[in-house]
């Protein structure tokens, strides 16, 4: 059985206690998207400004557990000011990290706990995911050992992806 310290890394608790980029941007002009986790009732509100191919600003509101809140906080810090393409790449990489089998994680020394993650995408070879590129976000990789919590960690990312899609669609519509 994986221990709590695998899940609740210090950096996660820090972002939970002191969330970054908290609040809502004025919408419009900001894109506003709500995400729900029907399992636990958590909800998240992502507001973002997309200008000239950049996520120029982002804010997070809503309520949730330490995993969903810290993941959203870490996400906001990681994507703010970044080009949209890069953000999309980060979303992809993060979701890959959340969908690989725990035993393929570079840091997973112990094997045989038997839990397999709920996967959106095919499991990848460990070297296919650049955990280093995720920076602080790598702290969330322990979540994979707790399959029911994966949706907590991915809630904000799915919501952000939807926000980018909607921002793109509205830009095209007005162009």
């Amino acid at each position: 059985m994986p221990g709590l310290e695998d899940l609740y890394r210090e950096i996660i608790l820090d972002h939970y206690r002191s969330p970054r980029n908290r609040g809502e941007l004025e919408s419009p002009p900001a894109q506003r998207v709500e995400g729900f986790n029907p399992l636990c009732g958590d909800e998240i509100v992502v507001t973002l400004d997309v200008h000239d191919g950049l996520v120029s600003d982002i804010k997070i509101a809503g309520t949730g557990c330490s995993i969903s809140q810290s993941s959203a906080s870490l996400m906001s810090a990681a994507v703010k000011g970044k080009p949209v393409d890069e953000v999309r790449g980060l979303i992809h990489t993060f979701k890959e990290m959340m969908s690989i089998h725990e035993s393929t994680l570079p840091s997973a020394v112990e094997k045989g706990t038997g839990g397999s993650a709920v996967a959106d995408v095919e499991p990848l070879e460990p070297e296919a995911i650049d955990i280093e590129a995720l920076g602080e976000l790598a702290a969330l990789q322990g979540v994979v050992k707790f399959p029911v919590r994966i949706k907590c960690a991915t809630l904000s990312w799915n919501t952000l992806a939807q926000g980018l899609d909607e921002a793109e669609a509205s830009t095209e519509a007005s162009a």
């Binding site: 059985m1 221990g3 709590l4 899940l7 609740y8 608790l13 399992l39 636990c40 009732g41 958590d42 909800e43 309520t63 949730g64 557990c65 330490s66 995993i67 707790f146 919590r149 907590c152």
Partner: protein
């Protein structure tokens, strides 16, 4: 069937004196360990564990008697049919049905039982503009079927509110039920544990000419139940919350109402005759049981009823009330303002369900830490989102008791909650 273990039969006849702890050894799962610690199962409101007597009865049936029911003209098929119908009668007697072999409909679960009423009774009897009444503490199973019907039929839904103590506010009851065609009410909240004044509401509803649909999913497993005393017209409940298997639930309905209702699902078993130009529905209760029913599960449910009756529902209630009182005292004394237990402050007004908030820690995080100590509680909205909104929370942690729990389980919960405090500060 093996007798109920120990010598507890009837010992709980005096309220508060019940000691059912010896029954624990009847439940194989409770002997298991999680992460090297004995399991502390406090989630019986979600699903109860099964005693070996239930598991054995199902296995014995499968190994010696199984065949499809109401079809074969050979010995085991006839015996399977006899046992299946005997389980029906047994369940009917357990809740005081006056015509047990005709008033008990087997469904998939309590949810399907409530949907059956929404389909077969309400679609026949409700017109656009009609009103129905629900309470704010209903489970989604007694809300969503009515929302679906509201969209389809243009009916309106009125709500009986709750107060700060988690009880129904009945000041406006007569006005709320006036002109209503149906009242849907839970006997016991799956979140707050609140025992509702079902008879009062049923009498007011009947005076207004409304039919009463009661959700007994939480109450039937834990309290003596007599449908005549409740005064309701339909009662839905699930096997898996009352020591039986999953896959089978029950709808009890008054014979007259059931007899006047059209079928629910179509298929085999529910017909008397099928022609190219139509069909003739079967008599009740089979009219509502299309297709091969959950036969092994009915045998298991019957064994669960036998088990509960051997212990005695008064003893079950006395034991769980005493445990609830102990839990509320222990948690409030130990954690003071750090814990908020939702629902009635008086244990006598509630079943063995304790939803709580602990400091500012999210219920998912509470549950995750408790799991490290083998303590199984539910975290989430408990399929009661309207109630969560009334309480002003997104989710709660919920500990719920079964007859196999004892004070050591409450102590383990309190110890583990200390660890939650230590971890999240």
């Amino acid at each position: 069937m093996a007798p109920v273990s120990s010598d507890v039969r009837g010992r709980g006849a005096e309220p508060g004196s019940a000691d059912l702890s010896l029954l624990r050894k009847d439940f194989p799962l409770l002997a298991h360990e999680v992460g090297g610690r004995p399991i502390v199962y406090l989630d019986s409101a979600a699903s109860a564990q099964r005693p070996v007597q239930v598991l054995d009865a199902m296995r014995e049936y499968d190994e010696t008697t199984h065949a499809n029911v109401h079809r074969g003209v050979y010995a085991i098929a006839e015996e399977a049919t006899r046992r299946f119908e005997a389980a029906r009668t047994k369940v009917g007697r357990f809740i005081g049905a006056s015509v047990p072999d005709r008033e008990i409909v087997f469904t998939k679960n309590a949810t399907e039982a409530l949907n059956l009423v929404a389909h077969a009774w309400a679609r026949t009897n409700l017109q656009p503009g009609d009103a129905i009444v629900l309470t704010e503490m209903e489970h989604h199973a007694n809300i969503v079927p009515w929302h679906m019907l509201a969209v389809e039929r243009g009916i309106t839904i009125r709500w009986i509110p709750i107060d700060d103590d988690g009880k129904l506010v009945l000041d406006d009851l007569d006005r709320l039920v006036d002109g209503a065609k149906l009242v849907g009410i839970t006997c016991m909240s799956n979140v707050l544990g609140t025992l509702t004044p079902i008879r009062t509401v049923a009498d007011a509803a009947h005076a207004a000419g409304a039919v009463v649909v009661a959700d007994g999913a939480q109450s039937v497993p834990h309290l003596p139940t007599d449908v005549a005393a409740l005064g309701v017209d339909f009662l839905a409940f699930s096997s898996h919350k009352m020591l039986g298997p999953t896959g089978i639930g029950v709808l009890w309905g008054r014979e007259k109402l059931l007899a006047a209702m059209p079928p629910f699902l179509g298929g085999g078993e529910m017909i008397l005759d099928v022609r190219k130009d139509g069909f003739t529905p079967n008599d009740i209760p089979w009219r509502f049981e299309a297709g091969t029913p959950p036969i092994t599960e009915a045998i298991g449910l019957g064994a669960a009823v036998d088990y509960l009756e051997a212990v005695g529902m008064d003893a079950v209630r006395a034991h769980e009330l005493s445990l609830t009182r102990y839990a509320m005292d222990t948690l409030n004394r130990r954690f003071g303002d750090d814990i908020r237990i939702f629902g009635p402050a008086d244990p006598a007004g509630r079943g063995g369900v304790l939803s709580f908030a602990y400091r500012e820690v999210h219920p998912h995080d509470i549950s995750q830490v408790l799991d490290q100590y083998g303590v199984c509680v539910r975290a989430g909205h408990h399929c009661a989102k309207p109630l969560m909104r009334c309480l002003g929370v997104k989710a709660t942690a919920r500990a719920s008791f079964g007859l196999y729990n004892d004070e050591s389980d409450v102590d383990a919960l309190a110890e583990a909650l200390d660890q939650v405090g230590a971890f999240f500060g």
